[in-house]
């Protein structure tokens, strides 16, 4: 049954850094309208940016023939963001731990870690082809639904 307090917007973009910037800006605006506080909004925007970068860079490899799909859904309980690419697929279990001593000085590999640090739930779904990342931030009791 649909939540009367829910809203959803979805769009398809090309595999470019400009698309990453647009998705990040949208996340910031949606989080603001959803009533998240000023400390949480930039965390949500950053997590979404990291997911978009992964989709464009690691998923679609900047291939202009491939797209990313971003959706933003607000419910009375949560903000749910989904980012999907058309790449070869990502197994999250193969991502090295960036905090491990042997990885701490690596020049990359911190994106997924930051997503998990800033969001309450992070889920991966294989699309065959592609990967869909779902990022969920729960509202606190002080933030009523819109």
């Amino acid at each position: 049954m649909a939540d009367s307090n829910s809203s959803r917007v979805s769009f398809t973009l090309d595999s470019s850094l400009d698309s990453v910037n647009k998705i990040e800006l949208t996340a910031e605006q949606v989080a603001q309208r959803a009533g998240f506080d000023e400390d949480t909004i930039p965390h949500i925007a950053m997590a979404v940016r990291e997911a978009a970068v992964n989709a464009v860079l690691h998923g679609n490899s900047y291939d202009t023939s491939k797209h990313i799909v971003a959706s933003f859904e607000t419910t009375s309980d949560s903000l749910i963001i989904r980012i999907a690419d058309q790449g070869p697929g990502l197994d999250p279990d193969t991502i090295p731990d960036p905090l491990a001593p042997e990885n701490i000085l690596r020049g990359s590999g911190r994106g997924i870690f930051l997503i998990k640090a800033f969001m309450d739930e992070v889920n991966f779904r294989q699309l065959h082809p592609g990967t869909e990342l779902t990022l969920i931030k729960h509202r606190t009791p002080a933030q009523p639904g819109t």
Partner: protein, 115 residues
């Protein structure tokens, strides 16, 4: 806002005053090129002033780390100055705060480089 770099020398230390966003693409490439340029000119004491950095993503953090290791491997030192709360918190979360030598005062930072 793209990242901008201004370079100055103080007591044998090259200070890179950075402003804007260090993100995947232009920002991260700019910092990489700036550090390499300084090393190529023979200076290996580098202080990155991040006081005007409004935002950094994981790619930007990766470039800071790469710059650190590049300078260290060349026998030099790279330190950070004036971290904003945002950057400070990110370095804390990623356990990099103790990897870098972070200063909040320029004079102190300059005198901390090996003579």
């Amino acid at each position: 806002m793209s990242m901008k770099v201004q370079t100055r020398q103080v007591d044998g230390v090259t200070i890179l005053d950075l402003s804007g966003r260090i993100t995947l693409g232009e920002g991260s490439v700019t910092i990489r090129d700036a550090v390499r340029d300084v090393l190529a000119k023979g200076s290996n004491k580098i202080l990155l002033n991040l006081g005007d950095i409004s935002y950094i993503d994981s790619s930007g953090i990766g470039e800071l780390v790469s710059a650190f290791t590049t300078v260290k491997n060349s026998g030099g030192e790279l330190k950070l100055l004036n971290l904003t709360k945002k950057v400070h918190d990110l370095l804390q979360i990623t356990k990099l705060y103790t990897v870098f030598d972070v200063k909040d005062d320029e004079a102190t930072a300059i005198s901390s480089f090996t003579k």
